[in-house]
Amino acid sequence: MINKTRLSEWGGLVLVWLAIVALFGLLAEHFLSAATFTTLAGRLPALAVIAAGMTLVVVSGGIDLSVGSVMALCGAVLGLAVTQWKWPLLAAVPLAILTGAAAGLTNGLLTAGLRIPSFLVTLGLLEVCRGLSYAVSGSRTLFIGAGIEPLARPLPFLGVPATVPAALLVVVTAQILLSKTVFGRHLVAIGTNENAVRLAGIDTRRAKVTVFLLSGALAGVAAVFAVARLGSADPNAGTGLELAAIAAVVIGGTSLAGGTGSVIGSLLGVLVIATLEAGLAQLGASEPLKRMVTGGVIIAAVAADGLRRRLSADRD
């Protein structure tokens, strides 16, 4: 799937990102500083891994609206394990990721098994997991502190926390999974025409369950990243995160109709959204302005992508 078109798409997104960086560089006094970019790097991992999972789901023609709530639930479980049960991180982190995987498995089994549209199943899980997050945390923010903060501390030489290379590894792995494996080809085929795949004698259910399981597990990974950065588990975390992830995926060139997309593109989409957020905050923009600009940029980025695609199609 990584061909010339894909590369030009990624190049286009990098240009959009550079334009945004240049604009904020002009407008804000200290935007073009090392601090801005290390902060940005620290913020990217959580959304990047969630967007990676979302990309695979969307390519398969589905959608996962539960990611934000699942992330909050996993964070709450992580917080509880460390603060109340005194588990070591080496046990608590896998537990958080397993919790996400369990939520994802539920999404997948309900979607594939009962043939309910994933939109509705994951909308249901969005509510259920938010409720569970409040229930397990007693609606309380759990402060973890020193136990988990090392994960978010900048690494020597790299200058960014360990979460950044970890997230990059996830993104690259997901991209390889999508473009180089049988599983990835199944996802694309299911997203293009599920009935045709089924008529060809391939059981689509396994791939569908797996893709939701991955998305859930990655929401768990994101929870670990987010909790590490904040030193606390917030049961309200990730509200509306599904929309940010979908926006990043769409900006990254993945079609909401399924059948085509790229994880690297989604990472660039995340970069665009996070940079926009950081820049607007550095400018001290008012809340109404932030929302209007962010919405406008999402539409503009997708529109520009559509235009570029049409132009290159005309040229061929």
Binding site: H30, A35, T39, Y134, G138, T141, L230, T239, E287
Partner: protein, 327 residues
């Protein structure tokens, strides 16, 4: 199932609409676990209508009220209601209407919006229900306009925030730059806390170099704090309108390697900030005794219902909680 992108958009739109209209309000049964029986004049039924029970502050408030009712079960019945979404005013209006339909004697309400719930409360009052306003004060101008009489029992958020701001100012000198991380801009208590922080900053000659809304959320406040720290390298303090946002700001200050150089203040005194108060990363917070707030409102309602007291507003205490670094 294959759908075109526009098909998805229609579904999203439709679900957003349906979700917005049909969210079932949460309702908790009375302490005895059964739906309350038809009203008996001897034992008034008091409805506590709050914002989100998922919010720690209101959760504490509800627990306090339930404990109070359990201890004084002979005196009144309690119906506790919370919303699903903190900012969804229409849901709270529905709750008010349901409580009137259930013929409660009094509604003790923490309004989701200081103006938008007033017409519904006015209808409740016209139906003979006593209205007691706790936590967030209803807008006096709109109260006058509609002719609704509602006793207010609650903390002075502006005063509380001013105390926090003053504690920060004591550590700084005139001309120092500070940033405000505000709550949801439409919320009255958020506005009051901003005003209180401004009062303190102005009195001490501090310069507010930036102010943005963290929407009461840790993650959003963290992003804003990180950006503000970068943009204003000489910043001396970040004043937050609640503790969740203060936790986010503390994490940003630590990440920027500026612990001790940039002070952080909060509001609410939740358990999660206790370790930060102890190690000095959070300078101060403010306790408005949420667990007592609903109880005070209920007591006021009962006193008025029993004609022991004439309706009068009451301010509940707000106390500064100083961390290790402030002492």
């Amino acid at each position: 199932m294959r759908r075109s992108a526009s098909g998805w958009l229609w579904i999203v739109g439709a679900l957003v609409l349906v979700g917005g209209c049909t969210k079932p309000p949460q309702e908790q049964p009375t302490a005895d676990g059964k739906p309350a029986p038809p009203p008996k004049p001897a034992k008034p039924r008091v409805a506590l209508v709050m914002k989100s029970l998922a919010n720690e502050f209101f959760g504490t408030m509800a627990e306090g009220a339930k404990a109070h009712q359990a201890a004084a079960a002979g005196r009144y019945d309690l119906v506790v209601n919370g919303m699903r979404n903190e900012t969804d005013v229409s849901e709270q209006v529905t709750l008010i209407e349901q409580m009137v339909a259930r013929k409660v004697a009094a509604i003790v309400i923490a309004p989701a919006d200081s103006k938008a719930v007033i017409p519904a409360l006015k209808r409740a009052a016209d139906a003979g229900v006593l209205v007691v306003n706790i936590d967030n004060r209803l807008d006096p101008a709109v109260l006058r306009e509609t002719g609704l009489e509602a006793v207010f029992v609650g903390p002075d958020n502006r005063e509380g925030a001013r105390k926090a701001g003053e504690a920060v100012a004591r550590q700084l000198s005139a001309g120092d730059g500070v940033a405000l991380i505000e709550g949801i801009p439409t919320a009255f208590n958020s506005q009051q806390r901003s005003l209180g922080l401004e009062d303190a900053a102005m009195a001490a000659g501090l310069v507010i170099v930036d102010r943005q809304s963290g929407q009461w959320e840790m993650e959003k406040a963290n992003a804003i704090a990180a950006a503000v720290l970068t943009e204003h390298p000489a910043l001396k303090a970040i004043l937050c309108a609640n503790d969740s946002m203060a936790l986010g700001a503390v994490a940003a200050v630590s990440a920027a390697g500026k612990s001790g150089q940039v002070l952080v203040s909060g509001f609410d005194n939740v358990p999660a900030v206790q370790p930060l108060l102890a190690d000095g990363r959070l300078l101060v917070t403010v306790d408005q005794h949420g667990d007592r707030l609903a109880v005070e409102g209920i007591e006021t309602a009962l006193a008025i219902l029993n004609q022991e007291k004439s309706p009068a507003d009451r301010t509940t205490p707000v106390d500064l909680v100083e961390g290790q670094a402030a002492r």
